[in-house]
């Protein structure tokens, strides 16, 4: 039986700037989630996301070749090619969806992809357990 859920609260995981302006999120476990999810599980999710963002912004040979090629073609190549960053962002979206389906939704939580919040925060929505209130 499906039923609508009401939003009880929202928790925002802020960015971690201790290593510069690279996109990293704080791994500190918020107190509001203590009763909802295992700390290790949550920190594992955030760490995986941080690793994916590091990969997206990595200054590797691939991004360098992409940059040089783009420069030589007066950046026209970006019109027909997906950048490395965009490819990793798609992987991140898929990962978040998987995590939501497997781990967070059964516990009444929902992770919002940070790209929908301008890469500022990871929004965790806590839903009320209405099904138990009958």
């Amino acid at each position: 039986m499906r039923q609508q859920a009401a939003v009880a609260a929202k928790v925002f995981i802020q960015r971690d700037y201790s290593n510069g302006t690279m996109c990293q999120f704080q791994t500190k476990f918020p107190s509001e989630l203590e009763t909802k999810i295992d700390k290790q599980q949550f920190e594992e999710t955030i760490r995986t996301l941080n690793n994916l963002y590091t990969e997206a912004e990595k200054l590797g040979s691939q991004s360098f070749v992409e940059g040089c090629l783009a420069c030589l073609t007066a950046y026209a190549v970006f019109l027909c090619m997906e950048t490395h960053y965009e490819k990793v962002l798609k992987r991140i979206s898929k990962y978040i969806q998987e995590q939501n389906d497997k781990i967070y939704a059964p516990r009444g939580l929902l992770l919002t992809d940070p790209i929908e919040r301008g890469l500022r925060v990871i929004e965790v929505t806590i839903y009320e357990d209405r099904s138990f209130s009958r």
Binding site: A9, Y17, L59, A74, F78, T83, E86, R120
Partner: protein
């Protein structure tokens, strides 16, 4: 600080009416709106949100006009003579440079510079709740800066009243465009847009190619005059006195910025120039290597646009909460605007998401 009168508001008034109450006939008439149509900044959009420009686009038409007219005159009057007396490569090189300049200019002008979308109502409420710990009923302006450590150096993050968030490091709010821009360099009236994280490389390639183009055209003009009159100054001295020196000055300045991983904003303010007495305050963002700094700035991975211009607005949120707030009384005082979002409760009750359902656990 202005003394504003607090007006409490029912958070449920901020939400639209539930879908079920909506007239089905009205639903059919509403076409899906894209996010750029409800964008709160002072920008103009073209091609259904694909291209973005500042509303105050300054002298972009003049810049384009100058480049096109100068190059046009060059191709019309100098090239025929020089092709005949020197080589056919001259108009070819000129043509390539011209195309590169125009492409870079248009790319700089029409690319999102790295605009940060404004905080949602929930985020703003969360930030307000975190910094206002007194819990008093009268609104007391909380501290608007936050200190963090970046590579063991203290950096102050400022709170942006307009965007309702603590600005990330190196982000600045452009008053002309009314947006927070990441790695904000400056607002350039010549290109009619801000120069920031996403379009700095295009801006740099614009000034490099423009310097080459103006030097090239001027060199060809001098050669033309010299060949015709068999008299005149040397090329180097001519360039030194030519109008080409202005783009060259700009190029030298921005090359210095790129090599030190600085923005114009930081350089003008002297953010890392050690003005803080004995304390060591170097640039925490530099890689201490000129080549690495250049690579990071010009050839680093291209970050995506964060404002999702062509995304569709949810059907029951045609007007974003921030815009709706402006129509409420007391818009002059931003403190009231934020306080209205966060009534003094711990959990902000929000509307039910109509399309999200959970399976029951029995």
């Amino acid at each position: 600080m202005k003394n504003c009168e607090y007006q409490q508001i029912d958070p449920r008034a901020l939400s639209a009416s539930p879908l079920s109450a909506q007239n089905p006939a009205e639903k059919k008439v509403q076409r899906p709106r894209r996010k750029w149509e409800a964008f709160p900044g002072k920008n103009r959009f073209f091609c259904d949100g694909r291209l973005i420009l500042a509303r105050q686009n300054g002298v972009l038409p003049l810049t384009l006009g100058l480049i096109v007219v100068t190059s046009g005159l060059f191709f019309a009057f100098d090239c025929p003579f020089l092709v005949e007396h020197l080589t056919v490569c001259i108009p070819m090189i000129g043509g390539v440079l011209f195309l590169f300049v125009v492409a870079s200019l248009l790319r700089t002008s029409f690319t999102d510079p790295g605009i940060l979308p404004r905080a949602t109502a929930d985020e703003a409420a969360d930030i307000e709740r975190q910094i206002d710990t007194s819990g008093s009923s009268t609104y007391r302006p909380p501290p608007r800066t936050k200190e963090i450590l970046i590579n063991q150096q203290v950096v102050k993050l400022k709170y942006c009243f307009t965007c309702k968030m603590f600005r990330p490091p190196r982000t600045s709010h452009c008053s002309l465009c009314d947006n927070c821009v990441e790695r904000f360099d400056h607002h350039c009236p010549w290109v009619g847009n801000c120069v920031g994280k996403r379009n700095y490389r295009y801006f740099y390639s614009f000034i490099i190619s423009l310097s080459f183009l103006t030097s090239f055209i001027f060199g060809c003009v001098i050669t033309h005059i010299t060949l015709r009159s068999q008299a005149g100054k040397g090329i180097v001295q001519a360039i030194q006195e030519s109008p080409a020196r202005y783009p060259l000055y700009s190029l030298c300045f921005h090359t210095y910025l790129v090599a030190s991983n600085l923005t114009t904003n930081e350089d003008i303010k002297g953010s890392w120039s050690g003005k803080r007495g004995a304390e060591e305050s170097g640039n925490p963002y530099t890689y201490s290597n000129i080549i690495t700094n250049c690579c990071v700035t010009l050839c680093g991975p291209m970050p995506p646009s964060l404002i999702d211009r062509r995304g569709f607005l949810p059907p029951d949120e045609a007007i974003p909460a921030a815009a709706r707030l402006r129509s409420l009384p007391g818009p002059e005082c931003p403190h009231v605007a934020v306080w209205l979002l966060a009534p003094p409760t711990l959990c902000v009750p929000l509307r039910q998401p109509p399309d999200l359902q959970f399976q029951s656990f029995d």
